[in-house]
């Protein structure tokens, strides 16, 4: 009986989605996205779009292999943009009505009067929404797998990890949508409030990442200042020694030699004064950096704590990137980008001497460190705590659904 009922609900969910046309619209859009990814390529000159080539110094096969290029495009555009945003919003719109429709007057009486436990009825309905999202993601991933294989020459089986990851990502939002649908019985209210919740997660994640970036930047500066302060005493001693040397006149010194010695002495004295001034300013900066770092550390700790309780949507999607690519894979490409970025910054400051100038902007190496920190976060922290949140929300849903009189 369980199998008969479950199959019937799945078939019914398919008919419902089919009647709304949204399922097919999403599928067609997914096909278009994959087709557009397939149209773009890379060769030794630059980027190719169908049979046209756009010459680019920063993007060609000398910096990035075709397989890495397609993986990059799939992750950045197909996965992080299309699946994580557009397709998920379409899926949310398609499935937001499932729970409000289930509990609507006239419909719920028919469902509850059948020999099926309320918890199973609710969870099966919930699962049907996820199943059809999974179907959408499955079709998109299969097509992307073929594109990377045929065009990039690399058969990346781990790309299919996108299916459970997107499903988990979607379920973290959808469980809240289901709860709101159950409470308000309104599709529009459930949809709008779910999007609001999604935006809250986005804001929380962005804040945590930004604070983390500045925190690592502050740590980087502290290390740099401490390194510099460590070197300065040696420079001061060296300068003092030189001053002493330049203060002592040589035997049989000519006027020209004397003048050169005094000039060298004056230069060394200026250097010494500069070093001593630097010690003072660096110590002041170090105190400031340490204070900033302590504040950022506190804020980051708070944001991290709050984030630990809620679903980690961005990190969940980041797991595929972790699995598919290593940081070294894009090293050449990143280095070229960094070089370009450094040039751009230097030009902007009008500084072409190559001397390092202190700036408050985080350097690309800091961004890489942030990436390393994010990648070092355990799968349990990313998925385990998010699944626990979902389980809690579903438990509340089931408790409401079981106890409510319809």
């Amino acid at each position: 009986m369980i199998l008969t009922q479950t199959t019937a609900m799945l078939v019914d969910a398919y008919r419902e989605l089919n009647s709304k046309k949204m399922f097919w619209i999403s599928l067609i859009l997914s096909a278009l996205v994959v087709a557009s990814i397939a149209c773009v390529g890379i060769n030794n000159k630059g980027l190719t779009v169908l049979w046209w080539t756009i010459s680019l110094d920063i993007l060609n096969t000398s910096l990035l292999s075709p397989a890495s290029f397609y993986k990059f495009v799939f992750i950045q555009f197909g996965f992080n943009f299309w699946l994580a945003w557009i397709a998920s919003i379409l899926a949310l719109i398609s499935t937001a009505s499932i729970i409000p429709d289930l509990v609507a007057g006239g419909s719920i009486e028919l469902s509850l009067s059948k020999p099926i436990a309320r918890v199973r009825l609710f969870l099966t309905k919930y699962a049907t929404a996820l199943l059809f999202t999974g179907l959408q993601v499955g079709v998109f991933t299969l097509a992307s797998f073929l594109v990377i294989g045929i065009r990039g020459g690399s058969w990346e089986w781990s790309i299919f990890l996108a299916i459970p990851l997107v499903l988990l990502f979607f379920s973290f939002i959808y469980c809240v949508c289901a709860l709101l649908g159950l409470i308000t019985r309104s599709t529009i209210a459930a949809l709008l409030l779910s999007v609001l919740f999604w935006f809250f997660l986005f804001l929380l994640n962005t804040s945590e990442r930004t604070v983390l970036l500045f925190k690592i930047n502050a740590e980087d500066r502290i290390a740099s200042a401490e390194r510099e302060l460590g070197n300065l005493p040696e420079l001061i001693t060296r300068s003092k020694d030189r001053i002493v040397t330049f203060s002592t006149p040589k035997e049989g010194e000519t006027d020209a030699e004397r003048l050169r010695r005094e000039a060298n002495k004056a230069t060394e004295e200026a250097k010494l004064a500069g070093h001593e001034l630097r010690v003072n300013t660096r110590q002041q900066s170090l105190t400031e950096y340490k204070s900033t770092q302590a504040t950022l550390d506190k804020w980051h700790g708070m944001l991290f704590g709050v984030k630990s309780v809620f679903p980690k949507t961005a990190e969940t999607m980041g797991l595929l990137e972790r699995q598919l690519t290593s940081l070294n894979e894009f090293q050449k490409f990143s280095d070229a980008q960094e070089e370009r970025e450094d040039d751009r910054r230097s030009r902007r400051r009008g500084n072409t001497s190559g001397v390092t100038v202190e700036s408050n902007e985080p350097s690309p190496s800091v961004a890489r460190k942030v990436e390393e920190v994010l990648r070092s976060r355990s799968v349990f922290w990313v998925l385990g705590t998010s699944v626990m949140f979902e389980a809690l929300v579903l438990f509340i849903c089931c408790a409401i659904f079981v106890r409510r009189d319809f």
Binding site: M1, A8, P115, D405
Partner: protein
């Protein structure tokens, strides 16, 4: 399980339901200890004014609402047992089928939800849609159906699991007279097939035509229940109509019935038979004959009064045995005996 219980499709004892008060609503005591028995194979009618608790009672049976307190059995199993529902069919009052399904798909879907195998529900869906007169529109989407057609499909889905007990909540709601007749015939056919039919309806005349037994629910309580005969027997009466052309009829009739009449403080003419049944005489109705009402179903007890009226040379225009209709019973149940006014609709407030 006793034999008596085994013979009952429904054996309800002390079913009680209170809705708790909320922030913006008052608590409602919808059902106040319902005791009700429905035998297997009978057509049972549940009557009551709006808000009496009829739909609440049915929803409790179908596990849509959980009771505050309930004892008893449905098809021999405890009330609230989910597995029993595989043997029960249900048509809710304001049902809403998915608009994207055809009539056939609706019947098959709810058949699957009741655990009916694929082959059985395919076959039964075809048979039932034919039974309810919807074979021609079986493959049309529900969104194109009229209210009556939806009701017919609703009946078909309620029967798809070949239930032993069928609960119809307002099955004729929004259905035209032809449809109503068809639904009555369907109920009769179901009874002939040995099914128990539990009907909740406002249409008293229809219930009277098909129900073996009825219960009247008023403000969450069973006011009366039994066969229509048993409920009406003690309410049967004889009416004697006396021509009132002569202005002396009043005096003559009082004199003729003097042995049975007694003075009444209210001024009306009333009395009783030696066996205690009341007699009511109405003389003051303009343009109407004088009427003597005797609250008995026994013709022999009326004869002495007829003899006296004839002896007084009054003209008898008619002698009629009167059996009250279900509507009379209903109105009696919903009328406050102390004030004579109809009870306010709705359940009583306060848990």
């Amino acid at each position: 399980m006793t034999t008596a219980t085994a013979d009952l499709a429904l054996d309800l004892k002390d079913v009680d339901k209170s809705y708790d008060a909320g922030w913006f609503k008052k608590g409602v005591h919808a059902l106040r200890g319902i005791d009700m028995h429905v035998g297997r194979g009978e057509v049972f009618g549940l009557l009551g004014p709006n808000g009496a608790g009829k739909s609440t009672l049915i929803k409790i049976l179908m596990t849509v609402i959980s009771p505050t307190r309930a004892q008893g059995t449905m098809l021999g199993r405890k009330i609230g047992d989910k597995s029993t529902l595989a043997r029960v069919g249900y048509l809710p009052e304001h049902h809403r089928f998915p608009e994207y399904l055809t009539g056939r798909q609706v019947v098959e879907f709810y058949g699957a939800m009741s655990g009916v195998s694929r082959s059985d529900r395919k076959r039964r869906a075809a048979d039932l849609l034919d039974f309810v007169g919807m074979a021609k529109w079986a493959d049309t989407k529900v969104r194109g159906y009229s209210k009556g057609m939806r009701q017919r499909v609703g009946i078909a889905q309620a029967l798809v699991n070949d239930p032993e007990l069928v609960l119809f909540d307002e099955p004729t709601d929004g259905v035209d007279p032809v449809g109503r007749r068809d639904i009555r015939q369907m109920c009769q056919t179901l009874k002939d097939r040995g099914k128990t039919v539990f009907l909740n309806s406002h249409l008293l005349s229809e219930l009277e035509m098909i129900c073996d037994r009825v219960a009247i629910l008023v403000q969450g309580r069973v006011a009366s229940q039994g066969t229509i005969d048993s409920l009406t027997t003690h309410r049967q009466r004889y009416e004697i109509e006396v021509a009132s052309d002569d202005s002396n009829v009043d005096t003559a009739l009082r004199r003729a019935l003097a042995d049975w009449l007694r003075p009444d403080a209210s001024g009306s003419i009333a009395g009783q038979l030696p066996s205690g049944e009341p007699i009511d005489v109405r003389l003051d109705q303009p343009y109407a004959p004088a009427m003597v009402k005797i609250a008995t179903a026994d013709a022999a007890k009326v004869q002495p009064l007829l003899d006296s009226i004839r002896a007084a040379r009054l003209t008898l225009r008619a002698v009629r045995p009167i059996r009250p209709s279900l509507e009379d019973l209903f109105m009696e149940a919903v009328t406050d005996p102390t004030t004579g006014k109809t009870l306010a609709p709705g359940a009583k407030e306060g848990a």
